[in-house]
Structures are given as C-alpha cells and as structure tokens.
C-alpha cells in the first residue's frame, strides 16, 4: 500500500538537516517530533481522563491497570512492528495467541507446571511463526495471504483443542503472578515483562545487525540482497520473532485471565497493526520505531480506559474511538509538518 502525500513526508525530512548544528541533534529532533506529537496526544488523553474522572483516573491502581491491559497487546505489537518494518504483515497474531494459550493450558501441559505452560506457549508461538516464515520466505507467498491462512487454521486448531471450552489454570505459580502480591515495587509482573520486551525490542532494532537488516529488507529488499544479506532467512527470522512475541503474549494472557480460551486474542491483528502505524511505522516497510508503537498501544488502551471509567455506552465508545483516531492523526500530522 502506498502512503498518500509523500510530499509531506519528504517535507518532514527535509527540515531536519536544515536546522544545521550537530547532526546528532538533528536525528534526535527528527525522532522527537514524531514521538513528541504522540506524547502530546497521550498527554491530551490523560488530561481528559483526569478532568472527567479526577478520582479514579489518576490513581495508582488505574495506572497499573492501564499498563497491565496494554501488556498483552503491547508485546504482540513489538513483534508486529518488526514484521511491518521489514515490509511484511502478520494477520495471524491473534490466532497464534489463541492457539498458544489453549495449548499451554491443556490438562496434559499443566502437569508440567509453570515451566510447562511457559515453554509450551513460547514453542507453539514460534512454531506458528516458523510456518508463516517458511511459507512467505521460501514458499514465496504474499504475507497477507499466508498469515490469513494461518489465522484460519490457528483458530480452527485452538477450537479443536478446547472443543469450545474454557480451560482453567490450576498451576498456582502462574495464577499468583497475576495477583497483587506478586507486584514488584508496585509494578505488576506483566508490566515488567512488557517493559523488558520493549527494551529488548528497542535494542534489537537499533543496536544489532538483526535490526539493521530488518530495516534494510523492508526499505529495499534488492539492495539488502546485493549487500549480501540473506533476505529469505531474515524474513523467516522476523516471522519467528513475531511468533515468539505472540507466545509470550499468550503466557501473559494466561496469567491475566487465569485460563486459556480459543476466543483469546480476538482482532489483535488489527489492534497491533493500528498501534504500529499510529506510532509512525510505515505500512510499506523500511521505517518504524518501537517507542512509537508502544505509545500507540498506550494511546489505544488509555482511550478504552477513559471510556469505561466514564461509563460510556458501547455505541458511543465505538463512534468516539473512530473520531479520536482521526483527530489524533490529524493533530499529529499538523505538529510534524510545522516543525
């Protein structure tokens, strides 16, 4: 998909070097404009939340809640960001979360306790990622179609395994992780995992050859090939990474919900892609940031939270959500262009 108004994009680019001075500052400034505008949107939301619900919104409990709610989809979004940066897309994330969460909570798996659940979730996630990666990198399938097929099959398999039933977790260690006693310095473990995944994702993207190569494959696959990068293998790794993130997210969801269910992760694909794009990742590949994606997730989660605290009706919530997305993006564009 092409992005409209490349001119504006280019304009946003042009400015950076122009304000002269240290190029390091220029780079910073460039990143900043985008990130700042996202932070601005988030700040505006927090203001709205604080004004409409002064008691319940700016409460520690509520901040913990927002962050916890953001954790599961946040981890998925980190993986998705890599995939989109590399010029691909992964529609199967929700289905993979569902499959991993039910596979990891079968009676047989639960016998192996904490480790069994964690291990299964991660391995199932990576297994699905591997299939996606093989189909796309070596089978030459279009990512949209390959991962759509995985979506269908993954959900089917999850239903097959559960037979539609909710699988309760009986392993104490796992359950406890989702409860208040496990908070570390007031931070829920789920949030810690999310933070860790974010940091690792950031390092991976910005400080390692893996990250460079992902950007290169997305920005110009032919150039990457000519530079000696094994483009296919890189693509395979990227879907594997997305699968891994889904596996971790599935584990978090198991902890959060104390159960595994085949309806888990419903429409995560849309949420994760939307968060990444709002965060500044180009759907056509070649550019994106982890920080932006995470801010995108937080923006969406905060919106939902404010709606619920204000007891809005479902219909109003949906209508307002669309309007807020439009407003946020238009404001963001305006800020970015004015710099």
């Amino acid at each position: 998909m092409t992005q409209p108004a490349p001119a504006a994009e280019a304009a946003a680019h042009k400015t950076a070097p122009a304000d002269g001075g240290s190029p390091w500052r220029a780079t910073l400034a460039r990143a900043d404009v985008r990130t700042l505008s996202l932070l601005g949107v988030l700040a505006a939301l927090i203001l709205i939340g604080g004004v409409t619900q002064p008691d319940s919104f700016l409460d520690t409990d509520n901040l913990q809640l927002i962050l916890t709610q953001a954790s599961v989809i946040g981890v998925v979004t980190v993986g998705m960001t890599f995939v989109i940066i590399s010029g691909g897309i992964d529609l199967s994330v929700g289905a993979i979360v569902a499959l991993a969460s039910v596979w990891a909570t079968t009676v047989a798996t639960q016998e192996y306790g904490f480790a069994g659940i964690l291990f299964t979730a991660v391995v199932v996630g990576m297994g699905c990622g591997l299939v996606n990666g093989l189909l796309i990198a070596y089978g030459g399938m279009v990512p949209f179609i390959a991962t759509l097929a995985m979506l269908a099959s993954g959900r089917g398999l999850a239903l097959q395994i559960t037979d539609g039933k909710t699988q309760m977790v009986t392993v104490d260690g796992v359950l406890r992780l989702g409860e208040r006693d496990s908070y570390v310095l007031g931070i829920p473990p789920l949030v810690l995992v999310f933070a860790a995944v974010t940091v690792v994702g950031w390092l991976l993207l910005n400080r390692t050859t893996f990250g460079r190569r992902s950007v290169a494959v997305g920005g110009n696959a032919e150039a990457a090939r000519l530079a000696g990068i094994d483009v296919r293998r890189q693509r395979l790794y990227l879907y594997l990474l997305s699968g891994l993130c889904c596996g971790i997210a599935a584990f978090l969801l198991i902890v959060l919900a104390g159960s595994g269910q085949n309806t888990n992760g419903n429409l995560y694909e849309l949420d994760a892609i939307a968060a990444a794009i709002i965060g500044g990742t180009l759907l056509s590949g070649g550019r994106g940031t982890i920080v932006g994606s995470v801010l995108g997730v937080l923006i969406f989660t905060t919106i939902t939270n404010i709606f619920a605290l204000n007891n809005l009706e479902t219909a109003t919530q949906q209508i307002a959500k669309g309007a807020i997305i439009v407003a946020a993006v238009l404001v963001q564009r305006r800020t970015a262009n004015n710099h």
Partner: protein, 320 residues
C-alpha cells in the same frame, strides 16, 4: 404456507407419543451459530448427544457461523439436502426469518431454537430461553438480597451489546430493579462473552466503582474473567450473580468462597429438547407428558436462579 403437520399419521385414531423405541428414520438438519463459546458449545453438545441416543435419528449438523448471510447459506444447504426436520439456532432470529419461511414452504418443519424468528409462520415449533425473564430473575434476586440496604449500588457487566438478547436481559434487569427504590444501577459496561473481555471490562468497572453492593454478569463464560479481575483487585465487598449456568459457576457457588453467590439459568439443555421435538415431528408423534396430540408451538424454558441452596440439583446440567 402450510403450517399443518404432515398428513401421514394424522389419520390415526390415536396419536402416538414419541418414546425411546426406534421408529421411522428421521434426518434432522441442525444449524447453529459458531460454537466458540461455552454456552453455544454446550448447545451443540446437547443436540449431538441427544441425537446419538436415538438409532432412528441422523443429525446433519452444519456448524457455525455468526454471519447472517453465511448462516442463511447453511440453512439453505440443509433445505437443498432435503432433510426431514430442521433445528435452527439463528445467529440472529429476525434475520433468518426468510429462510425459515422458505423451509416451511418447502414442507420441512422447523424447530426454532432460542433466538426467535420474526413470525410464527417461519417455524412449526419454538423452544428457547427467556432473556427478558433472565434479567428479571437476576434483578429480583439482587433486589431481595439488598432490599434492606440504603442507597444500594448495583453494577451490570453485560454481554455482546450488538445482540438483541443482551438488550433484553438488561431491560429485564432494569425493570426488576424498578421495584426497589433503594437500589441504583451505577454502571453498565458490555463485554463480548469471552474470558479475556470479561477480565478486561471487569477490572475497569472495579476501578471506576470503588464501592458497590451487587454485580450482575450476563454470562458465566465471561464471568471466569470477571471473577479473575475481582480476585486480582482484591475486592470482596459485593455479591455477584452470574448468567447461563456454567459448571465452573455452579462449583464456585457450591464452594461459597468467592463473591459469586448465584447464577441465573439459561439452560443449554433446550437443544436436547429441540431434538426430541424434531424427532417427534419427523415421526408425526406427540410428546409424552402432555394431553395434547399435537406438539406445542411455543415452549419457553424457565430461567431459574441457582444459589447455594439448590445448586446440587442443577450440578449435572452445568456446561464446561
């Protein structure tokens, strides 16, 4: 346009009553919504188990879609296959009316399960639950429990809001609460029948309402998530009433160690009854226990409230 039962058999002087003995072979077509949810899954299970019980029944089950157009296609497939009787649980009752009419016109009697068609012409027999009544039962139960409390506050965790049944449940609940002037409903949020959404919406409700006295949750599946959220928030200062009748809910009520004190039934066993009715229709027989020759055209299942006192009695009907 014939709403009459088939001619065969109606000549008999004495109407036969369907029983467990094998009779005329009947092919029953069964179409339901996507069984990705505990209660719907239980519906499928009940139907299949009951059909297996009869050696004279063949079940053609096209399983599940939540999309109106797709489900219409599935019912039409069954009509084209010329099954003897149809059992249809529509994703949306009104939207499948046309296809119900079509089946009836084609001479296939339709047993309409739960979500009702817009016109009785579209089914020979309807059996289902009472969503409004479910809300009423929940409201009255909570009302009675809180009737001595001043300024009592109640919270509702509704199901999928774009289904009509959710609105009916809420309406019943609100109407029942009107009888209790001391009770105010302070918040209502809708989850979507999944554990994940139940956990998420409930934790936000708990955050929004720092104190309330009772919670009605429309669905025990999403209740698993809601209970989890309540545990995580460390709250136990209110009473919770569930909906539908899942085994896990019965167990929790029996154990009496959580806020869940009762659940309002919406029995999936109605699917088994639907199969019985369909078989009887196919064999042109009546049903036992009734004086009438003919099979009734409308059967509403009662939404009983199950609490600690009667949970033993219902335990076996709980679905997983």
């Amino acid at each position: 346009t014939s709403n009459e039962p088939k001619d065969e058999g109606s000549d008999d002087k004495e109407q036969q009553v369907a029983d467990d003995k094998p009779g005329k072979k009947v092919t029953i077509g069964f179409a339901g919504p996507q069984a990705d949810h505990g209660w719907l899954n239980a519906i499928n299970d009940q139907a299949k188990k009951r059909a297996e019980k009869y050696s004279d029944v063949t079940l053609e089950a096209t399983e599940g879609s939540n999309d109106t157009a797709a489900q219409i296609g599935q019912v039409e497939t069954l009509i084209n296959k010329k099954v003897d009787v149809l059992v249809v649980l529509p994703a949306d009752g009104k939207a499948l009316t046309q296809v119900g009419l079509k089946a009836m016109k084609a001479g296939i009697p339709v047993v309409n399960l739960d979500r009702v068609f817009a016109t009785p012409q579209a089914y020979r027999c309807w059996i289902g639950g009472d969503n409004y009544g479910m809300g009423l039962s929940a409201g009255h139960y909570i009302g009675e429990k809180l009737k001595d409390k001043k300024n009592a506050r109640v919270v509702e965790l509704a199901g999928l809001d774009n289904l009509e049944l959710t609105k009916q449940r809420s309406k019943g609940f609100d109407d029942a609460l009107k009888n209790y002037s001391n009770i105010e409903k302070v918040a209502r949020q809708a989850a979507d029948f999944t554990v994940e959404s139940g956990q998420s919406k409930m934790s936000q409700l708990l955050q929004a309402q720092k104190n309330f006295d009772a919670l009605w949750n429309h669905d025990d599946d999403q209740g698993v998530g809601a209970l989890r959220a309540i545990k995580q928030a460390g709250r136990d200062d209110f009473l919770m009433v569930g909906g539908a009748g899942a085994l896990s809910a019965f167990q929790a009520i029996e154990a009496d160690n959580s806020v869940l004190k009762a659940t309002v039934l919406y029995p999936p066993t109605m699917a088994a009854s639907a199969i019985d009715l369909a078989r009887a229709l196919g064999q042109s027989k009546g049903v036992s226990g009734m004086a009438e020759f003919e099979i009734p055209s409308f059967v509403t299942c009662y939404s009983a409230v199950v609490d600690k006192d009667n949970v033993d009695q219902y335990m076996s009907t709980g679905f997983k």
